[in-house]
């Protein structure tokens, strides 16, 4: 990584825009459901005024539905907020589990994405890493959507977390086979190199390994540069 301006290059802006578009689409869907349900309540009220029997169970299920979708809306906005704040600090020590959970949640907003499961995320180990939260999110997100674009929404991806001396290893296991090596695609390769993350194919087309060190030399170099930039501005 040459300098901090790489954090805001075109590819990263594209990722940021794509995620925000998927969140807005999800919120629209939620509002559409609430709108139709409240419209249905109005329809039932109009029928009641005409002397038709008002079914209490229908009223109850409408109220429940509205409540569920309001909660779903709040959850989506919370996720949006977490994602928005991921650019607050170019380099930061973060909990890898939290980051992974956020990304899994974000991919869930895509109509073509299948299910993603995280294994060993509550094993009690420390999964902190010093990294660029935004770039790491981009790398993992692009990896997942690359897989789903190739394999479809029936695919299930398992992400296994294994902590060792070298850092935390993420093993992506896809139930559907890919035709290409995920980490040979230019965007993903570039993002991994920028973060100093080693990526390999364990089982051709099906299992991929991403080794995330606590603090790669690339990240340390960038952190040092940013401190130098800050002190020269003072």
């Amino acid at each position: 990584m040459n300098d901090s301006s790489q954090l805001m290059n075109a590819e990263n802006l594209l990722f940021f825009g794509k995620v925000n578009a998927s969140i807005s689409h999800e919120l629209k869907n939620i509002l559409a459901i609430i709108s139709e349900t409240s419209g249905f309540l109005r329809d039932l009220t109009d029928l009641a005024k005409q002397g038709k029997e008002l079914k209490i169970d229908l009223l109850e299920s409408c109220c429940e539905s509205i409540n569920e979708d309001v909660q779903r809306g709040f959850s989506t906005i919370k996720t949006m907020n977490q994602f928005a704040h991921s650019v607050d600090y170019p380099i930061k020590e973060i909990d890898l589990v939290e980051l992974l959970r956020l990304i899994v949640h974000l991919t869930g907003f895509l109509s073509y994405a299948g299910k993603v499961y995280i294994e060993n995320d509550d094993d009690g180990n420390n999964h902190d890493v010093l990294t660029s939260p935004f770039l790491l999110q981009n790398l993992i997100y692009q990896s997942l959507i690359f897989i789903f674009n190739q394999t479809g929404s029936n695919n299930k991806i398992k992400i296994q977390m294994i902590t060792g001396e070298e850092g935390t290893c993420l093993i992506f296991n896809s139930t559907e086979k890919l035709n290409t090596n995920l980490f040979e695609t230019p965007e993903i390769k570039k993002a991994a190199q920028a973060l100093g993350i080693a990526v390999t194919e364990k089982v051709p087309g099906q299992e991929f390994k991403m080794l995330i060190p606590y603090a790669s030399s690339e990240i340390k170099e960038l952190a040092d540069r940013l401190q130098i930039e800050r002190s020269s501005e003072d």
């Binding site: 689409h25 869907n29 509002l31 459901i33 139709e36 329809d43 479809g152």
Partner: protein, 164 residues
């Protein structure tokens, strides 16, 4: 209102709750509804059912709304298709219209506007079918003049073949 007098709708959306609620509302407006939660099921339903109008969500897993639109318009000449999209752009509206969509509506859509659009689409369908039937009657009348019964039967079979 009997089933034969109702407008037969095919509603397609992967958002199950939205589909269920809007179906209930449309049924109160005396539409007869069949639902599908993905493109493949929609295409299969249209193959076996007799629908007047289809309302399709654009973004769905598997076959998306555009592909469903293309397939339905190709296989069902008189089926009118409305598109419901959570993200409508001018380019998208133009593309869908070129593929034969009757109208492109944005989600969340005003319910009365949706009902109005469905009824307009149904009227267009009736008009097209009527014009086609009128044309066919003229062809049969022309065929019947000066032909033997066998000649008429052969002519009718040829007309059916040409219509496929």
């Amino acid at each position: 209102m009997t089933d034969t007098n109702k407008i037969h709708l095919l509603m397609v959306d992967d958002e199950v709750k939205f589909l269920e609620t809007i179906t209930k509302r449309l049924e109160l407006q005396f539409f007869q509804i069949t639902t599908a939660t993905n493109g493949e099921d929609a295409i299969e339903a249209a193959r076996t059912g007799q629908f007047d109008v289809a309302v399709i969500d654009l973004q769905m897993p598997g076959i998306d709304g555009v592909q469903v639109l293309e397939t339905l318009k190709k296989n069902h000449k008189y089926l009118e298709v409305l598109i419901l999209s959570g993200h409508t752009t001018i380019e998208l509206a133009v593309d869908c219209t070129k593929l034969g969509a009757f109208q492109v509506l944005e989600k969340p859509c005003d319910f009365n506007k949706l009902v109005e659009a469905i009824k307009e689409a149904y009227e267009v369908r009736l008009k097209k079918k009527f014009e086609h039937d009128q044309e066919r009657i003229k062809q049969i009348e022309a065929l019947a003049i000066g032909q033997s019964p066998l000649g008429i039967l052969k002519g009718l079979a040829q007309m059916d073949e040409d219509a496929k």
